[in-house]
Amino acid sequence: MSTTVFVPKDAAAVSVGADQVALAIAHQAQARSLEVAIKRNGSRGLLWLEPMIEVQTAAGRVAYGPVSVADVPGLFEAGFLLGGAHALHHGATEQIPYLKSQQRLTFARVGIIQPANLADYIAHDGYRGLRQALQLSAAQIVQTVLDSGLRGRGGAAFPTGIKWKTVLDAPSPQKYVTCNADEGDSGTFADRMLMEGDPFTLIEGMTIAGIAVGATRGFIYLRVEYPHAHRTLNEAIAVAYGAGYLGDNVLGSGHKFDLEVRLGAGAYICGEETSMLESLEGRRGEVRVRPPLPAIKGLFGMPTIVNNVISLASVPIILDKGAKFYQDFGTGKSRGTLPIQLAGNLKHGGLVERAFGLSLRELLYDYGGGSASGRPLRTVQIGGPLGAYVPASQFDTAVDYESLSGIGALLGHGGIVGFDDTVDMAHMARYAMEFCAVESCGKCTPCRIGSTRGMEVIDRIMVGMNPQQNLTLLEELCDTMVNGSLCGLGGMAPFPVQSALKHFREDFLKFHHP
């Protein structure tokens, strides 16, 4: 009888050798005349254990990891096909504490199913949300999303339902649904994992969005740095067309919805929604002045939904299980679950989907296991390159939109990057300005010129030139950028700088002029 072995084809797993491990297992099985069926799944999100392979046993799936090619013969010797004991054995996957304690709604299928396999998707409750949506009126679908309390997971946290309602109420012969998959924040990979591990969830969410607001065409704006996700999405979209889930007559409902992937070209700013629309239209990704909002005048001047991958991928389960089911998770105005990404210098980096309200400390130590280097954690940056650095003294803060903004930080797309005590915060502050200078679209002056001046001022501080005067100048410059920039790039790039100045000022004062 054939034994099923799961070897992830998620890009992170592949980046540390999953393809070679899959080949080695196939070779060993052949050499030993054992029947093994290798299935390529997404990642479970326990990324420090990648490549993490799983064996389907009578008692469920059993995990081993991190597996290298050299480990494969030993795994066969240990009888891993029957779940045998081995140094890399972690027992039943679902019982691993990191996974067991999670509340996976949006990521319910990621790592479990084969990504572009429609039958697998449907067998795991896929397309139930769309079938439910087809029983409802457009206004009812929008109301369900509104009632769920879902807020944009891209970073701005704007209520998704309100956006949808605006598009629904905007009369137009053509409307669009666009998915912002330009996940450029360092420390984030939830969009990538979802698109690679369960692409139909995103396709289903976009289809529901289209039906809800009367849009017949959708675009996924995907960053070019994600070639694996690109292949998986295109594969899944082709399958969805073939099976009647996309096209002129979605599931015979009379609704039309066409969907395609468009690639970005390495511009961080295109994660800003109006810049993304410019790019989709084939122009330089320069931000637009708002109003008009994209919901009124978006892609090609038509009413357009712009939602992040995770927002759209949360829609199917909301339609399937109801607004209340989703709304029951979370705290205060932060409803539902959030896929948090633990990254950088953390021992157990990975994806943790939990209801809002967990403390940073629980995430960093109970899940993250502290630093990877074994040194004390000094700070974490939350929400990507435009997010504040939070010092260890504030690790008891709850991870929800309001609590974080209460300490001058922001949640953004939910990425948390750990830094140990060797980090030089003046260097990180300079990097924040450098990044903004590289990625500025150039349209407004505070961002375009301010970022370069910011870099220069920090350079002077870092050689000990008039530190007090230059620190004052830097603070004024940050203030100008925050208040004078057209969009979030120039407006938020000073956040990491300001937080470094506030919490780690000593790092800026240690330099001596030669």
């Binding site: 992170a12 360092s186 984030t188 070209a265 961080y268 990704g285 950088g344």
Partner: protein, 152 residues
């Protein structure tokens, strides 16, 4: 080259907002966007040359000259920095004998910075010719480079 560019334009001009699609297709074909392609695209898509050139130069991904046989992209962003990506970058530039945005004299390797590859829990990360690698130490970097030398 001209006929290939014309056929790419003809194939894609009916798409909504086709310029980025065309630029991607041209770079896929030639490894870069040749300057001589810009006027052809402008005429083909009914745009000004300034619009085409402005677009090509706006996006970091589009190259204006042919790259080396292998393109090495090192992540320079925060998560990788927290795992000593700056030291890896120093090792990479020393080993290859070039700085970022440069190509080795033998035309084998181009070194490019990239701001996040979405592999932030397996930092530091890099990409060689579209293949993603994680947990890259100096010695792993050397091994991967040696592999490319062998393959080519």
């Amino acid at each position: 080259m001209t006929s290939e560019i014309h056929s790419i334009i003809d194939r894609l001009r009916g798409q909504p907002g086709p310029l980025l699609l065309v630029l991607h297709a041209i770079q896929d074909e030639f490894g870069y966007v040749p300057p001589e392609a810009e006027p052809l695209i402008a005429v083909g898509l009914n745009l000004s040359r300034a619009e085409v050139h402005g677009c090509v130069t706006f996006y970091h991904f589009f190259r204006h000259s042919p790259p080396g046989r292998h393109v090495v992209q090192l992540c320079r962003a925060e998560a990788c920095k927290s795992m000593d990506a700056d030291k890896l970058a120093a090792h990479a530039t020393r080993t290859l004998g070039i700085d970022f945005h440069q190509t080795t004299a033998d035309g084998k390797f181009s070194l490019e910075p990239v701001y996040c590859l979405g592999n932030c829990a397996c930092s530091p990360a890099m990409m060689i010719d579209g293949q993603l690698y994680g947990r890259v130490t100096n010695s792993r970097f050397d091994e991967l480079l040696a592999q490319q030398q062998q393959d080519s």
